[in-house]
């Protein structure tokens, strides 16, 4: 989901990220996404360059030549890293936080739940790119809505009436 308008101008600007989509900010916008169930939010932050990104992936691995790379953990993380580097980030300075990947239903809890696989593939991809994971709030059986503060790298998670900060 693309938004139209001027680039976020201040840390108070919020930018909404849809499913199978990502956003990158170089000026401290708050990136938000809501209703993460089995989907996974991958938050990347380069403190030195002041660049942050949030991607909302739906599935772990992409087929060949996917029409939308942001839909998948394996292709989406690279696409967002590239977009962050275009804004001045350096992969070596990027750190990650993960939220989502729950198993909401019994029918999605047996033989490799989607959420669990999303988390596993994201961890593998981040490890491969040398991006350390600072914090995770994954799994469980509740949905999450998240706000990723581009300026500070703080991740606020709302889930089942609770609020957590990572």
């Amino acid at each position: 989901m693309k938004t139209y308008g001027e680039k976020p101008a201040s840390a108070r600007t919020r930018q909404r990220v849809g499913i199978a989509d990502f956003a990158v900010t170089a000026d401290g916008a708050v990136l938000t996404t809501s209703g993460l169930g089995s989907c996974l939010g991958v938050c990347l932050h380069d403190d030195r360059a002041g660049v942050a990104g949030l991607i909302h992936v739906m599935l772990p691995t992409a087929p060949d030549d996917p029409p939308n790379a942001a839909k998948y953990a394996d292709t989406g993380i690279d696409v967002m890293l590239q977009a962050m580097c275009a804004e001045g980030a350096a992969v070596d300075d990027v750190r990650a936080k993960l939220a989502g990947g729950s198993a909401m239903f019994e029918f999605d809890s047996q033989d490799e739940p989607i959420g669990e696989r999303n988390v596993a593939v994201a961890r593998t991809m981040l490890d491969r790119r040398g991006v350390p994971i600072d914090a995770e709030d994954v799994g469980g059986d509740s949905g999450r809505s998240i706000q990723f503060h581009g300026e500070t790298g703080v991740l606020v998670i709302k889930s089942a009436g609770d609020e957590r900060r990572l």
């Binding site: 499913i19 209703g35 169930g37 089995s38 019994e106 949905g143």
Partner: protein
């Protein structure tokens, strides 16, 4: 005729891109940041059209298309959204919510309509490698189905109509805009028509039967609610749409729902979610549990919703099984209480492993006094849906009509 699923997907993508151009034009002209929420293509009967558009008041423009793509389009705003846009676009024009829009306001709406629809249509013209002619915009300020291009209802009565719908929403304000495009049926059917040996093709007449099946399922579910609660209910909206799989979760609102979800197995396989928003859940519980319950709903309330979900599920499944003349196996409905998008995301994820687009059947059960509403989402597995439709005898559609009448 048979419909090529892949090409339906391509046209959906064109409509999505077109809507993004239109949203960009809106932002450029007004400075209001907007995004495209959902784009879908729906196959509607006359009754579906009346359900979806009835009872709402729109302000907007109608523009006819000719040349490489013939059909009708409408850009519609609800009154408040139109007033906000007029305020920005033509300061000084009368755009109060109770007064009617003056000449300046109308010409502002016409202008933005023309520009937005130009953006919407450009992508189609490029893809079809042809030029598309647009008629001058006609300003409309109407209720319900009247906002649709003339003749839509008549056409829908003769044969189902394809309706492309995109919703655009402002990021920080309460502004919604809708683009509707109704391609001329014959020409569009030719664009969609698959060659006989195309394995992804779905027979058109059977697809319309499936649309009716959904309505029948929803009606059975609604009857079961009525008999359990004593509250009169009706199916307000029931439609079959074709959406990119990643748009499925967005079809529920961004709020907390209570309800049940289950997987149905065999032919057709897929998922069924029956969801109540929180106030509606409260109403249901109050009507079915003969004692005062705590606020918010605790275990006892949740078990009442579970029970309601079970009963509606069996009604819905009966409706389908009746048309398919087969039994349908399913997992026990599971209770859920979460954000709508989170509830639908594992369903989209599981289906998304093998399909790019989903046939989404959504229905809304309401009561005449607005005591509650209940959203029913049925999302079949695409491959299993094809198998089910292949084994569905076309004569059964006549039988369906007979069954429908015997219900009322």
């Amino acid at each position: 005729m048979r419909v090529d699923i892949q090409s339906l997907g391509t046209y959906n993508r064109l409509a999505q891109e077109g809507a993004e151009h239109a949203a960009a034009s809106l932002t450029q002209m007004t400075g209001i940041e907007t995004y495209v929420d959902v784009t879908n293509v729906t196959l509607m009967s006359k009754r579906d059209v009346e359900d979806v558009f009835g009872g709402t008041e729109f302000v907007g423009v109608q523009i006819g298309l000719g040349g490489g793509l013939s059909g009708e389009t409408a850009l519609a705003f609800d009154r408040d959204s139109a007033a906000s846009i007029v305020d920005v676009l033509v300061p000084g024009a009368t755009a109060g919510t109770d007064d009617s829009f003056d000449e300046m306001a109308r010409s502002g709406i016409n202008e933005i309509g023309n520009i937005m629809m130009g953006g919407f249509v450009d992508g189609w013209a490029d893809y079809l490698a042809t030029s598309v002619d647009m008629t001058p915009p006609t300003y409309v300020e109407r209720d319900g189905t009247d906002v649709l291009p003339n003749g839509t209802l008549d056409r829908a009565e003769e044969e189902h109509v394809f309706v492309f719908e995109s919703q655009m929403t402002a990021v920080d304000e309460e502004i919604d805009a809708y683009i509707y495009m109704l391609p001329e049926y014959g020409a569009f059917a030719e664009m969609l028509e698959a060659s006989d040996d195309h394995e992804d093709a779905i027979p058109m007449d059977k697809l319309t039967v499936f649309d009716e099946m959904t309505r029948q399922g929803a009606e059975r579910a609604a009857e079961n609610v009525s008999s359990m609660t004593g509250i009169e209910t009706d199916v307000d909206v029931s439609r079959l749409s074709f959406v990119p799989i990643e748009d499925v979760p967005n079809t529920a609102r961004d709020e907390v729902y209570l309800g049940t979800v289950m997987e149905f197995k065999g032919t057709p396989g897929g998922y069924l979610a029956i969801l109540f928003d929180e106030p509606s859940a409260r109403t249901i519980v109050d009507a079915t549990v003969p004692m005062e319950l705590d606020e918010p709903l605790g275990d006892m309330g949740e078990s009442a919703i579970q029970e309601m979900g079970n009963i509606m599920t069996s009604g819905f499944i009966d409706g389908w099984a009746n048309v398919l003349q087969t039994s349908i196996d399913h997992t026990p409905p599971e209770l859920v209480r979460d954000l709508g998008t989170a509830i639908l995301s594992p369903i989209a994820g599981r289906l998304g492993q093998s399909q790019e687009y989903a046939f989404l059947m959504d229905s809304t059960v309401v009561t005449p006094e607005g005591e509650f509403n209940c959203e029913i989402y049925a999302i079949p597995d695409e491959q299993k849906l094809k198998e089910a439709l292949d084994s569905l005898l076309v004569e059964r559609s006549d039988q369906l009509e007979a069954n429908r009448e015997s219900i009322f």
